[in-house]
């Protein structure tokens, strides 16, 4: 067994174990952390296949950007507040099981029909070397044979970007001039401005509504910070 096979075995075993961890973890943040491990091991396998560029892009795009944003959202959600993160609806579980089996069958079919019997393509290591390297070879292929798919992908991404802009646009643009212009992007305020709409003036209080000042006031002693609120303080254990 060559050293390459040993390294591949180690990487793939860790990747599969981490992938199982993604599914089995009770805490969604743990799932995301396992997914990070899977992605990094996958990138390492790409490096073994001499696809350096693909490996680095895999880490930058999936691990560095998409998963960070996913974590960003699920970190804000209480684990207990997630509706039926595990189990629950039998139809969904059955559908998931069947779809998983179909996917497994597809992968098995792809591996069994493809492996070892297919002649190697034009991009041998020598050809990649003569093109100037992995990045250059990929660039030549992408921008000669696959120009149309690349432009179609770019268009789809552009549409998605425009969609994000539309969603993040402050609503009721005609009211904006009445507010203070802030021209800032604020994550704390998803509508993009940091000023609340001005409340209308409260009705005047009549003399009968005002309680006379007695000097006595009901004293409320709280045993803990969340005794009088519905939700516990974040991070404190809730008794089951």
């Amino acid at each position: 067994m060559s050293a390459e096979v040993v390294v591949f075995d180690i990487l793939s075993v860790i990747a599969v174990l981490a992938a199982i961890g993604v599914v089995l973890a009770r805490n969604p943040v743990h799932s995301a952390a396992s997914l990070v491990v899977t992605f990094v091991n996958l990138a390492a396998i790409y490096v073994m296949l001499r696809a350096d560029f693909l490996a680095v892009v895999q880490v930058i795009v999936y691990t560095g950007a998409i998963l960070v944003l996913v974590l960003f959202v699920i970190m804000l959600v209480h684990q207990e507040d997630l509706p039926e993160f595990h189990g629950g609806r039998p139809v969904q579980r059955a559908a998931g099981f069947i779809l998983g089996l179909i996917l497994l069958g597809e992968v098995a079919a792809a591996v069994l029909t493809r492996s070892a019997s297919v002649p190697s393509g034009p991009w041998t290591p020598a050809a990649v070397q003569s093109a100037g390297g992995n990045v250059q070879a990929l660039g030549q292929v992408l921008y000669s044979g696959y120009v149309l798919p690349i432009q179609a992908t770019a268009l789809v991404l552009l549409v998605a970007t425009v969609g994000a802009l539309v969603l993040a646009r402050p609503d009721l643009p005609r009211l904006r001039s009445a507010r203070r212009e802030t021209s800032t992007i604020s994550l704390g305020h998803p509508r993009g401005t940091d000023v609340e709409p001005q409340p209308t003036a409260l009705p005047a209080v009549s003399a009968s509504q005002v309680k006379p000042e007695t000097g006595e006031r009901e004293l409320v002693m709280a045993k803990s910070g969340d005794e009088f609120v519905d939700h516990p303080v974040w991070g404190e254990r809730r008794e089951p």
Binding site: N27, G64, V68, L71, F72, M75, L76, I185, E236
Partner: protein
């Protein structure tokens, strides 16, 4: 073949040791420079001129109790600082520290690895390192820490885009993503009549250099962009709950990242080991030192940004400028090749 591997490993160990020593003395350097700028004396008690201060700090932090809060996600809490610390020095592997030299007849390259995607590799390592901060902030079971982690996530994702796009101009001019290739390109001299100018990319890409510098400060969570650990609003952000050596792992990862970003900036824009006389690794160190001084100077000078200003700066100012820079560089490149 085998000798190349062996020399790579030896060099990797040497680079790691030097980096860890530099990191320790970076803390001393920062405290001393800050002290001078604020008209104080700074550390001067431990050893001559306080030179043993980093050592004393390390020993002190090792003796501290390693506290894990009850509300913490224990396993994650213990692992998260290690993620930051382990990933930080890995990026130094692709930085060239000199030209090829010959030792006992064997050619020895003064870089650990010359991979074809070196610059992207550094960016990838940087984007992985932020997981230590995000997961640490989450696992602390503290709202301030969680907010620090969230800020870090948003900040790093935004500034990584700017950082990557600012480098595209350099890639267009050099035609390579390999730091060794980029360095070779910069070692050629340009001559305008009698004037000899080195082909450093700071001269042809000044806008990209400024954008890179700003984005790098944000990427390393340094003042004035140190929002994730803003002590005035978030206590200490993601590392509020950390104590002892786990706290110092975050601290040290930040300093290693600063050193690596300085080395990267020197290599990408200032010709790295290239210098007017006697090219060598000392030029790289001098240039990186200037950048580190700049970092400390920034911290001493500028107040912290407001959070929405930080995001606005990234998305509304730096990103459009970086795109304009790419378009201009591409046009000039086409014109230079005679294709326009």
């Amino acid at each position: 073949m085998l000798s190349a591997y062996v020399s790579s490993y030896i060099l990797a160990v040497i680079v790691l040791i030097i980096l860890l020593t530099m990191m320790a003395y970076m803390t001393y350097f920062e405290r001393k420079v800050l002290a001078v700028m604020q008209d104080r004396i700074g550390p001067n008690r431990t050893g001559p001129f306080g030179l043993l201060q980093p050592l004393a700090d390390g020993v002190k932090l090792l003796q501290k109790e390693d506290i894990v809060p009850q509300a913490a996600d224990k396993r994650m809490f213990l692992i998260a600082p290690l993620v930051s610390f382990v990933l930080a020095p890995v990026a130094a592997a692709v930085i060239p520290f000199g030209n090829t030299i010959h030792v006992f007849g064997y050619p020895v390259h003064l870089y650990v690895a010359d991979i074809n995607v070196a610059v992207l590799y550094v960016l990838a390592i940087g984007s992985m390192g932020v997981y230590g901060i995000i997961l640490g902030g989450y696992a602390s079971g503290n709202r301030y820490s969680l907010l620090g982690g969230l800020r870090s996530a948003a900040q790093v994702v935004s500034y990584e885009i700017t950082l990557g796009l600012s480098l595209v101009g350099v890639f267009i001019l050099s035609g390579s993503l390999s730091l060794v290739q980029i360095l070779h390109q910069q070692q050629q001299a340009l001559s305008f009549g009698a004037l000899q100018v080195p082909n450093w990319y700071i001269l042809s890409q000044p806008l990209a250099f400024v954008i890179f510098l700003i984005a790098a400060v944000a990427e390393t969570n340094r003042a004035p962009f140190d929002l994730p650990e803003a002590e005035t609003e978030l206590i200490a952000g993601f590392h509020t709950e950390y104590s002892g050596f786990r706290f110092s792992f975050y601290f040290l990862a930040e300093y290693i990242n600063m050193i690596i970003v300085s080395l990267m900036a020197s290599t990408l824009f200032l010709g790295g080991i290239d210098g007017p006389i006697a090219s060598g690794v000392w030029w790289l160190l001098i240039k990186a030192g200037v950048f580190l001084l700049f970092y400390v100077w920034l911290r001493a000078t500028l107040p912290r940004f407001r959070y929405d200003q930080l995001m606005g700066l990234a998305w509304k100012v730096l990103l459009p400028l970086a795109v304009v820079n790419i378009a201009l560089t591409g046009l000039i490149r086409l014109w230079g090749l005679g294709l326009l």
